[in-house]
Symmetry: C2
Subunit: 143 residues, 2 copies
C-alpha cells in the first residue's frame, strides 16, 4: 500500500509535484527512494503533508514547521508554543469578529456614504489604533 509516485502524492495531498520537490529540498518531506530518476514516496508522506498543511493553517512558516520534526522523523512540538499560538489565534479571531460585524453593518447601513455613518466611523477609529494578526497563509491553490 506504500510506493506512491509523485503525481499520486500531489493529487492526494492537493499540492503540485513542484511543491513536493520544493518541500523535499527544504527537508520537510523525504522520498523513500527512486525508481530510476523518479522519486518514490511512502504513504507516510501523506500524514506528514497533512501536518505541514495544518501547521501552515495555524500560521507557522515552513521553517518553523521544519523545526518541529524531530530527527527521528517523529513530531516534536513544544506544547507551550502550541498554547501560545492558540492564544494568538484567539486574539486574531476576536479582531476579525469585530471587523466582520463592522463590515456587515457597513453593508446594511443606510447612510449615503460610509464615511457619514457613525458606526462605520467608530470602526475606523478602532482600526486606527492597533492592527491585525500575524502572517496567515493565503492558500491560493493554483487552478
Amino acid at each position: 500500500m506504500s510506493d506512491l509516485d509523485i503525481a499520486e502524492v500531489a493529487q492526494r495531498a492537493g499540492v503540485t509535484a513542484a511543491t513536493l520537490r520544493f518541500y523535499e529540498e527544504k527537508g520537510l518531506i523525504r522520498s523513500i527512494g527512486r525508481r530510476g530518476l523518479r522519486r518514490v514516496f511512502g504513504n507516510d508522506v501523506l500524514e506528514r503533508l497533512a501536518l505541514i498543511s495544518l501547521g501552515r493553517a495555524a500560521g507557522f512558516s515552513l521553517d518553523e514547521i521544519g523545526r518541529m520534526f524531530a530527527p527521528g522523523g517523529t513530531l516534536d512540538i513544544d506544547r507551550g508554543l502550541l498554547a501560545e499560538r492558540a492564544d494568538e489565534l484567539d486574539r486574531t479571531i476576536r479582531r476579525l469578529g469585530a471587523l466582520r460585524d463592522g463590515l456587515r453593518h457597513a453593508a446594511a447601513c443606510p447612510a449615503p456614504s460610509h464615511l457619514e455613518c457613525p458606526t462605520f466611523r467608530r470602526i475606523l477609529r478602532a482600526a486606527e489604533s492597533k492592527s491585525l494578526a500575524r502572517r496567515l497563509p493565503s492558500t491560493r491553490r493554483s487552478l
Copy 2:
C-alpha cells in the same frame, strides 16, 4: 489644523514616510501640495489612511482598496462586496476557531507524541480536506 508634513503623518498613522510615498505613487493618497520639494498633507489623509488600514485588515489588497475610492475622493464601496467579505471572514473565523481548539488540545494532550493522540489525528484529518482563508495581512509594523 491641517498642513502636516510627511513625518507627522507617518507618525500619526503608524507607517513610515516611505510607505506614504508608495501609497501616493499608487494613487491611494494625495498630498495637498508642496513646500519646496516637500510634501504637505491635509489632515484628511489620516482618515484615508485609517480606511486603508481597515481595508487591509479586512483582507483587501491595495489595488482593491484603490478601486473603492470614488473619483471625487469620497468612498464608493459596493455593499454587496462588503457583505461578501464579511461572510468570507466569518468562514475564516470558524476555521480558525476549530484550529485554535485543536492547538489547545494538542498543547494539553497527555499522549507522548501528538501523532498518537486521537484528537490530534482527527484535526489532522480535518485539515487534510480543505484548507484555509484568503490572504490576510501580516502587519509586520517595523520593529
